[in-house]
């Protein structure tokens, strides 16, 4: 069963592992073997599972009776694994992930072994971490574990702790002389990877968790990110070391990075890991598991910049999907559906933090909707906004089979109608609409679909076009026919059509397309190609009339062009369309495409 890793494993390690495996008994051997031999390429699709952190972090009555984070125990993990196997496994959920605290006592005091490695807390995990992994594997599931980045301060031991399997190396040999700290909480000394002992330390941690049989590691507090920036908090080398160390174990271990990773380093995250948390914790640390306003709703603004980076091998991690029990989640039904919808279409990993023994029927229906899961797990690309990030917004993706995934969201605090215009998807005419949440074909809709959504509500459709491609007329922002005002200016842009854009649209900077010609009066879904490294708003108006302020989602950096469609009411003949930064900072504009027909 270990043959695949035999050649790369040091002899001593191999022996130790064999002993451990034998001690755990025969019952664990078969499932573990099966899991390994059938495992696909790592993170070929977003992983699905459960994480302990949501319940650990909550003040929901009864969850943490022995103090903060005390939920995390062997018994609770096994209970959740049992519930997952019974209720969710058949839908694809497989990872049971132990989060922070497995090496900490109930007072949150860390324990370390003689090698400065995290040591399981005997009260929380009396049977040890391997036994838990074995129990999880016995259910046909995979086991996940957690570590923070860096050398935890408590592991330093005056620098004299030997590094396991690294002759002559001690903890003093792996950190900086000034004991500079790192990670999102400054809870560890920064590792100095210019020293030869340092990789050995990561190797020793990797051997430990691989030896226990873990299939997944969440490396937390990673920077730049986790609320930190600068060299001291640059943990890219840690992540690279982890990838190398995991490879060295010969075990297939999924490496997931946390939290609020710096999008500027996404190439590194993609290179070394299988997923990265794009945002802060979804949990509210309050008396429910999450709350809408605390940070669930942030994801609609924070995800779009990352969208194009998701794909087989590495995914944008939106954090736990806590929609399984309305009372515990602290969310309305509408909010739970929207939460699940965004996670599904963004191709986020789908791991819930709910108490799987207490899923309510609606929560179970959300977590086990096969059409929605198929969207998340299938060969479809992640969706991104096709409208501005206004309170009513539409996200979409064009699927390989020619259909579109279309999600309507109403992020306002009151019910509202939300319309998806086929023009914003690039076609005109009729289309068939299937409602994925309700498992229902809604029929054929011409040019658009409008639905009433509750406050914070959503709809998720597959749209099958029966029309034709939308004809448009392009107007370049840099055209001399346009009028620039304020600081607005033309700039080079290699990603842009015509190799130019109009930028410096701030504090009164304004771009007016002076001659936009349409045949008929009406409201047109004008597609705007733009660049905006962060979400920015702009006032859009036509013919000097009243402006509508739209927030354009981030394109993730200042060299990538994305598009959104904005409704603009035009008259027959020549029109002006103005993008005005007003009193703020607006996106750079590359081009607009004006449909030949109104919606």
């Amino acid at each position: 069963m270990r043959s695949s890793s035999y050649s790369v494993m040091p002899a001593r390690t191999l022996r130790a592992l064999v002993v451990l495996a034998l001690a755990a008994g025969a019952t664990t051997a078969a499932p573990a073997a099966q899991a390994e031999t059938t495992a696909p390429a790592l993170a070929a699709k977003p992983y699905m599972g459960w994480s302990s952190w949501t319940m650990q972090s909550s003040k929901y009555p009864g969850l943490n009776p022995d103090g903060d984070y005390s939920y995390l125990t062997e018994a609770n993990v096994i209970e959740q694994a049992d519930a997952m196997a019974a209720k969710l496994k058949k839908y694809g959920y497989e990872y049971v992930n132990i989060d922070a605290g497995w090496w900490m006592d109930k007072a949150w005091k860390s324990g370390f072994d003689q090698y400065g490695r995290q040591k399981p807390d005997p009260v929380r995990f009396p049977s040890g971490m391997k036994a838990v992994a074995d129990r999880i594997h016995a259910k046909g599931l995979k086991a996940g574990i957690y570590l923070p980045a860096g050398l935890e301060k408590g592991a330093y031991g005056d620098g004299r702790n030997p590094v396991w399997n690294a002759d002559g190396c001690t903890t003093a040999d792996i950190v900086y002389g000034d004991l500079r700290t790192t990670n999102g909480w400054d809870s560890a000394y920064k590792l100095d990877f210019s020293k030869p002992c340092t990789q050995k330390y990561i190797d020793s941690q990797a051997q430990l968790i691989a030896g226990w049989g873990y299939d997944f590691l969440k490396l937390d507090g990673v920077g730049p990110g986790s609320g930190k920036s600068g060299d001291q908090y640059d943990n890219v080398a840690d992540v690279a070391a982890w990838q190398k160390a995991i490879a060295g174990t010969g075990r297939t271990v999924h490496l997931e990075l946390s939290w609020s990773l710096d999008i500027g380093r996404v190439a590194d995250w993609k290179k070394y890991s299988q997923g990265w948390r794009i945002d802060t914790d979804v949990e509210c640390y309050c008396n429910t598991l999450v709350s809408w306003e605390n940070s669930v709703d942030d994801r609609w603004d924070d995800t779009p910049g990352w969208t194009r980076h998701a794909g087989p091998g590495g995914w944008n991690d939106l954090d736990s999907l806590d929609v399984g029990n309305g009372r515990m989640d602290g969310l309305t039904k509408a909010e739970r559906q929207s939460y699940a919808t965004l996670w599904a279409i963004a191709k986020s990993p789908l791991y819930t933090g709910d108490d799987l023994t207490r899923l309510d029927s609606y929560g179970l229906s959300l977590l086990t909707n096969r059409e929605v899961i198929a969207l998340n797990q299938g060969a479809t690309p992640p969706a991104r906004p096709v409208t501005p990030s206004d309170p009513q917004q539409v996200w979409a993706a064009k699927n390989p089979d020619g259909t579109y995934t279309v999600a309507l969201f109403n992020l306002a605090d009151a019910p509202a109608a939300v319309t998806a215009h086929w023009a914003s998807l690039g076609f005109t005419g009729k289309a068939a609409v299937r409602d994925l949440w309700n498992h229902e074909n809604l029929g054929t809709y011409k040019e658009k679909i409008t639905q009433a959504l509750p406050a914070h509500g959503s709809r998720l459709f597959t749209v099958t076009p029966h029309g034709s491609a939308l004809g448009t007329t392009a107007y370049e922002a840099e055209s001399p026919a346009n009028t620039l005002a304020g600081n607005a200016s033309v700039a080079d842009c290699s990603a842009c059509s015509g190799d130019h854009k109009v930028g410096n649209l701030y504090l009164g900077g304004k771009l007016t397309f002076d001659k936009v010609v349409v045949d008929k009066a009406g409201t047109y879904q004008v597609k705007v190609a733009y660049i905006s490294g962060d979400a920015r708003s702009v006032d859009v108006s036509a013919n000097g009339g009243g402006a509508t302020r739209h927030k354009f989602p981030s394109t993730g950096d200042w060299s990538t062009v994305e598009t959104v469609s904005v409704p603009v009411t035009l008259k027959a003949g020549a029109n002006t369309i103005t993008f005005d930064s007003g009193s703020g900072y607006a996106p750079d504009i590359d081009r607009i495409d004006v449909p030949k027909s109104s919606s």
Partner: protein, 787 residues
Amino acid sequence: MDTNPTTGLPRRSLLALSAVTGALTALPAFTASAAPQRPANSPAMPGSSAHELWWQAPADEHSMIEQGLPVGNGRLGALASNDPGRELLLITDATMWTGGLNDTLDSDGQFPYGRGDFGSLTLLARLTVDIPDHDLSAVSGYRRALDLDRGVVTTSYVRSGVTYRRQIFAGRPDDVIVLHFTQSGGGRYTGTVTLEGTHGEDAAVSFGAAFPNGLRYGAAVAAHGTGGRVTVSGSGISFSGCRELTVLVSGGTNYAPDAAKGYRDPSLDPQSLARTKVRDAAALSADTLLRTHVADYHALFGKMDLSLGTSSPQQRSLDTWERIRARARDGAPDPELEAAYLHFGRYLMISGSRGSLPMGLQALWLDGNDPDWMGDYHTDINIQMNYWMADRTGLSPCFDALTDYCLAQLPSWTDLTRRLFNDPRNRYRNSTGKNAGWTVAISTNPHGGGGWWWHPAGNAWLCTTLWEHYEYTGSREYLKKIYPLLKGACEFWEARLLTTTLPGTKQEVLIADSDWSPEHGPLDAKGITYAQELVWALFGNYCTAAAELRKDADHADTIASLRRKLYLPQVSPSTGWLEEWMSPDNLGETTHRHLSPLVGLFPGDRIRPDGSTPAETVAAATALLTARGMESFGWANAWRSLCWARLKDPEKAYQLVVNNLRPSTGGSNGTAPNLFDIYEVERGRGIFQIDANFGTPAAMMEMLLYSRPGHIELLPALPDAWAGSGFVRGVAARGGFEVDLRWRDGKPTEARIHSVGGRTTTVAYGDGARTVTMKPGAFVTLKDFAR
């Protein structure tokens, strides 16, 4: 200047009109109703799209005041959420008032103004109909509409291929709110109906309780269905598998508009009466209830109609809220929307003001028990504005609630004035030491009580409002009814007016004692324009009334002589404005919301831009109005619009209408999704004040037709946006006429003047005028107008 504003109303014609408003006897607010008149076989008339407002999303339960759709039968009103999975109705009765006579003044001699002492309008009940399987996230094709032709709120949506529909209306003949749920396609309704009080009562199919002020109230619900089961339990009603479901709710109080009985009918048990009403209604089909309601409602709604032009297909394709937003964004006139806004005001008037108390700051539509300013009657503009449009838009009967209220309160108002007005702590007391008649506080309640500060001129303004209704209807019976109010108000001012000599002259004039020009500037100014103008109008009206009724000839002579000595405002030599105080200086806020010093321009008739008023007075009024600005809110914009219409400035008058049509978002001033007018009282907090929903339509009518007894002017301030073509039908004109008018390219093409009692009037357009004479009941058609 013309000292007789009422010339031209012939006495004989009034006799013929007595039937119009003959049934003025005040009825208890909630009472056993007579057998309703049921239409024999009237078709359930289809609504026209021009009279339909529609939306593509239901209301948020927490934003009912902006998004809930109002229904009402003139007494019992509700806001409905129209959510498929959970229909919520916030129900109240016009008389659901806490508080009382409130006759212990504060230390400053003014009235307490709290929810306990003065009181507040509050909710009667919450009704919910939960249909769990119809969660909004699970339905498609959602649509709700307010059919202004029929007075019905409809909701439709599709769930799993079945189309579900519901209709909600508040029937006056049957005195119940009806919720009728139907479907086509083999669907079923399963869920629960819950009726709860809002003052601590438990959920029950009926409840009854009493306020500390002794007012008893109660409500009841009943339901019946077909094809399934409807089960009543102690706390509510369950239904399952119903193909069709009807829910009926009624309720009210034992309020009685009778000061002598302490405003209570001790024999009335509201809970029992509510149960009787829903039981009686449950014996009828929902269709019968609907037809009865539509016949009753449309008899009023159909009295008047108008077209301000044709909207574009694109405008028509938008739902009402999108259309409001597009109107503001694109700046293009949307004449059908603007006409629908006017009709919405008429809908509110019919729904809010029939047979019970008049409409206060929010009429029958609340979202809690703590409406701002108690949802009370504000007598320094708001209640007057609520009723300016009644006669102007064919809803003369809806005015009666205001008259009935004033008459019922008069004994209490007289008593309070006699006992408390000259309290030495009251800064507004009569320095003459004399005291007579009646007046009111700025706020009044229905229990005889006042709130906030004394408002000496409030009596005169209420009387001029009541008088205007007389000028429209010409009813002698009505005049007899309001006469004691006019007389008592005159007596108050006889006791109050002070004689002073104008500086630098020997001219003696009469001025009002210390007062506050609403609601800014000095608190103790003598001779404020607001009071001088209102008293001048009051005295004139009283003299006309006394002559008409052949009463009090000597007293009327006295009043007429006082009137001749009344000081009238001068033009400020420093600002060029009509003075608000007897001072050349601007002592208040330049852009203040109130137009108190312009009451002589509107609603008064003293200041006219037709050559009969000195040009410098008109210019000074115009200058003051200009200084007040165009950017206020709701009622303040409406009042400005009315004044600009009087000054024949159509574009300014129209712009103020447009300003009120701006979408209210985040509590900003303007029109909410449900078309309620929202006033941003503090940053981010908007509240509903219904006066603009009535004042704005009144302004729109004033732009189309001006009248005073003996004189009608066509299209005095027609804005370009409506000039292309249009019509109004059934518009009342002061002097006893009704006018149908068509125009094209900004000019009348045909005007038909019907006499409803009037005999002769001039009809003017532009610089031309002709005099028409006819018999009551006859009409004259005029064509060939030239400017």
